[in-house]
């Protein structure tokens, strides 16, 4: 009797934690994928000041721990502008989106730079505009190239969501650890692992599926 009630309430708490994990994951993904594209354009522009500014920014974000960035984003408005965040989740999301956009921008840039010059030139001599060359010729090749590294990065994002606990967001692991501490039981922590394994397993299948879909041609 006692055990059954405990399982239901623990599971409920874990699901709440998993909810935060999902929110952080999906919102970060949805926003950082396009933001990364914008940052990439900054990093490859011919306008030197913007280029170096962007590159410097990306270097800082990639060169420091995401955990530190979360804490800094969380404290900046309160300590510098006397307007603390009303929502901890918002602070986490801002830090995550910026961080992942920078990583994605580097992946995009690698993809862009891997496209041979001849592809552009072939388009130009056929009277295409720059935008046409990008959307009709280059884009699909870039997508194919970046799919594997994007898959890795997205998998990492799933696990990184646990960093949100650093500003007391009760995501999956934090939720499990509370249960462990409160009831002296170990299984919530293992249970957490299963959540991650299933989630990442599904993502791996999804990326594998897309890669197979694009297998009809070779670059």
């Amino acid at each position: 009797m006692f055990v059954a009630v405990s399982f239901a309430s623990v599971f409920n708490d874990l699901m709440n934690g998993f909810g935060y994990t999902l929110i952080i994951f999906f919102i970060t993904l949805i926003l950082s994928v396009p933001l990364g594209l914008i940052i990439m354009f900054g990093a490859v522009t011919k306008f030197k000041p913007l280029k170096w500014l962007t590159k410097g920014f990306v270097w800082i974000i990639r060169g420091t721990p995401l955990m530190l960035q979360i804490i800094i984003v969380f404290y900046i408005p309160g300590l510098l502008f006397n307007a603390p965040f009303k929502s901890r989740l918002l602070a986490v999301l801002i830090a995550f989106v910026i961080n992942y956009a920078c990583y994605f921008s580097e992946i995009y840039r690698g993809g862009l730079e891997s496209i041979p010059k001849g592809q552009y030139e072939a388009g130009y001599v056929l009277g295409m505009k720059k935008s046409q060359v990008f959307f009709h010729i280059v884009l699909m090749q870039i997508i194919k190239r970046i799919l594997p590294p994007m898959g890795n990065e997205v998998t990492t994002l799933v696990k990184d969501t646990s960093l949100a606990r650093v500003i007391m967001i009760v995501e999956l692991i934090q939720a499990a650890q509370f249960q462990t501490a409160r009831h002296g039981i170990i299984w919530p922590l293992f249970f957490t692992g299963i959540f991650y394994l299933i989630f990442i397993g599904l993502l791996t299948l999804l990326f594998g599926y897309i890669e197979r879909k694009l297998d009809y041609y070779k670059i």
Partner: protein, 331 residues
Amino acid sequence: MSKQEKPLLVVENLKKNFGALEVLKGVSFSVNKGEILSIIGSSGSGKTTLLRCLNFLEEADEGLIQVEDEVLFFKDAEQSGKENFQNIREKRLNFGMVFQNFNLFPQYTTLKNVMLPLWLQGKERREKKIAAFNLEKKNNIKNLKLELKSLKSEYKKNKTDENLKAVEAKKQEIALTKGTKADVLSLEEIKQKTKEEATNLLCQVGLSDKLESYPFQLSGGQQQRVAIARAMALRPKIICFDEPTSALDPELTGEVLKVIKNIKSKNRTMIIVTHEMSFAKDISDKIIFMADGIIEEMGTPSEVFDNPKSPKTKAFLLKTEENYICEDATL
């Protein structure tokens, strides 16, 4: 005297530097419609650079490029800046280009590779036509509305049946004008036409059985033939070939050269950079031998190959002949 034929392409004093390196040092030649000009010369003499300047993939530093009566590029020593390098996109359409390493689009089938430029151009022309039509329509409606206004005030002053009728008629005319649509092909029709044209071009290069293959499924020779079909798609006035067979295994060279021979016609003008001497001699109306960024010798195939005047040409031809003999000896 018979009327002098006017050249299709005139190039005068074309110069191009890469930093301190003078790659083209003032190149002048002309090509008549339907002619085949072959350019030979040792590595680094500037042949590719010349073709790239014609296709506006590089901007020349000085010189003139003229096709028919249109000056596509002109810059003399005093001028600088990019002012003469505008509307490149349209100017490029005078030339087609076949690259050494094909540069097919890997994600598209053979057919789509050839369709893409046709489709984009067809769509763009359609949009332009619609935009022009709509602009005119808007102006027409504006004018009609002004006329309506004056008719209305006329009617207010003088409420006759006749004036009322005129107002009604004008209103109807406006409604009719508003309902008109530009007379253009639908996108579906354009696609169909594009597909037919592309299929036809691929037949000409002997690839009608490979329409649905992707580039990676084709041999190098077949890929280059697709590239030739693609270069013909937009009907450029002049097709340039940059060593079309030098990335191919020797046994695939023949099929590509044969295709080039097949597409030769009195309406098709070609400039071919090649190391295939017997091919050049056989197919060309005119040969240019380039050395160190200048035209060392120019003339008919028999003039250049059989009676070269310049010592450099002689040395070059002797060398290629030797290579040829060596290759033969290894067989």
